[in-house]
């Protein structure tokens, strides 16, 4: 379907910042800093609760003005890996304001699991600068981690690719 060097179901973005890793870490883990940048244009972050330790939960609210009035969206998740100033891994699912993950029926699905995504932030110390690599990937609720899901998906995609190559080759 696409070049095999590009994971089909992940966004990977690399950026360098003119700040030390400890400050970039604060951007992700201190609510007052996180709120200052996380909402894209036109979106504010009125709530950011973060229990930053493996197994700790997070709850983030995004608020936007739409033609139909102000709209709030809630996201909850769990911190999977917390290595200060180096590596942060957390999950994200849509939820209500109490952090209850929206069930498949809430999303209009008769059965199955809600889509959960995983955000991986890796920081590399370049002296006074920091290289940051963000990976945002989809996983299924039944998978223990992003790797399992991504691998299964890539396997399936490769399988389909091989099959269509056979058909048309």
């Amino acid at each position: 379907m696409t070049d095999s060097s590009v994971p089909l179901d992940a966004v990977v973005i690399e950026r360098s910042f003119d700040a030390p890793p400890a400050l970039i870490w604060q951007m992700w883990t201190a609510p007052e800093h996180f709120k200052a940048w996380y909402g894209p244009d036109g979106v504010t972050v009125p709530v950011a609760k973060m229990d930053v330790r493996a197994g700790g939960t997070r709850l983030v609210c995004l608020e936007m003005n739409t033609p139909g009035g102000q709209r709030r969206m809630w996201f909850t998740g769990e911190y999977r890996e917390v290595v200060e100033n180096q590596r942060l891994v957390y999950t994200e699912s849509m939820s209500d304001e109490n952090g209850n993950v929206l069930s498949p029926s809430d999303l209009g699905m008769p059965q199955g699991h809600p889509a959960t995504t995983v955000v991986i932030v890796e920081l590399q110390d370049l002296g006074s600068r920091t290289k940051m690599v963000l990976t945002h990937t989809g996983i299924a609720a039944e998978s223990p981690g992003a790797a399992g899901w991504a691998m299964a998906f890539r396997k399936l995609a490769a399988h389909l690719q091989a099959h269509s190559a056979r058909d048309f080759g």
Binding site: D9, V11, I13, M27, A36, H113, A141
Partner: protein, 117 residues
Amino acid sequence: MLDEDRLSETFAALASSTRRAILARLAEGEANVNELAGPFDLTLPTISKHIKVLERAGLVVRSQRAQYRPCALDPAPLEEISAWAEQYRPVWEARFDRMSDYLMRLRSHQRTDEHDD
């Protein structure tokens, strides 16, 4: 524009290893419910339920040929998933532009503070 509901359904459909295995089997060629049930230790109604989920997600189409009704794979929704991931890219890029601006504001504040001291 992507159809969000349809995408959620694709993800839900792919969330089961049994359904992924069914898709992998269908990538080899069409098959009916009996043939699909073969490799799995599952009853026909259970397999039928999985196929219905895949049908609703648009991943499987069933021929109307009576009795046999073979299932075939339609990979189009899988391609949409890659578009789903890509639609996050501009959101993150915009966020990191803001993070960069914010870091600059923090630094200039720090400099002002140092100057005041």
